[in-house]
Symmetry: C2
């Protein structure tokens, strides 16, 4: 098994994206944190390792990673964008109590609509909202 660093480097090379230190760090961060981080979270955490890191760089890096298809955008929240390196089809559930975003398996490919017969579909997203099991438990305890 190759090192993560080497794997990520190859991914960038394939996509003809220059292998800067910052880009590799952001990419590494996303593979280690599958919890759909915000730019702020990535920035605060990576600054510990790369003190000169700029927030603008994270925005720029994410833009090129998204454009090349290595990262997907999660817009389940209306005020802050989240990012996900898992690009294979899956749904997202946001707990309205604790705010956590959960992945779940769902057959997105089976989602068809005759209304979209003449549309070119590039991207499918499924977002659910509600209360997660952990929060349901704590709510019941209070009662």
């Amino acid at each position: 098994m190759k090192s993560t660093f080497e794997e990520l480097s190859n991914e960038l090379k394939k996509k003809k994206i220059r292998l800067s230190h910052q880009r590799l760090k952001v990419l590494e961060y996303l593979t280690l944190h599958l919890c759909h981080p915000t730019v702020e979270q990535i920035y605060v955490d990576l600054q510990k390792e790369v003190p000169t890191l700029s927030k603008t760089t994270i925005y720029n890096t994410l833009s090129s990673l998204i454009e090349s298809g290595l990262v997907r955008v999660i817009t389940i929240e209306d005020h802050e964008t989240r990012y996900d390196i898992r690009t294979e089809n899956h749904g997202h559930f946001k707990c309205e109590s604790c705010g956590e975003i959960y992945d779940f398996n769902v057959d997105i490919d089976s989602l068809q609509s005759v209304d979209l017969n003449n549309f070119k579909i590039n991207d499918k997203n499924v977002y659910f909202k509600g209360i997660c099991p952990r929060c349901l438990l704590s709510i019941n305890k209070i009662k």
Copy 2:
């Protein structure tokens, strides 16, 4: 058939929301514009009829309409929230070329996942992105 005004008034009364002139206007606007308008669009258009209207009022009104379940939020765009008075289940397609957001019928109820067995689901959203038929046509013409 009742007048739209009377229908909307009754909706608000049922939900115990005070029937202010501004709220009725926003609600009327949403029933006449099913194209998922932004706050800015609602503001610019309604200002012609209600010159003293404040943008804050539109935000406040939408908040109470959403809370009462009369309006749903569309977060298919990452930078600007859109609103939809059609609360029955349907999917949304955003054309990445012209930006228009289309409704489409899709069996959202059939979307199930064993991963969510112990979750309380309050809301389901399906967002697709791609190119709409009209834009596909104009792209082909250029080639």
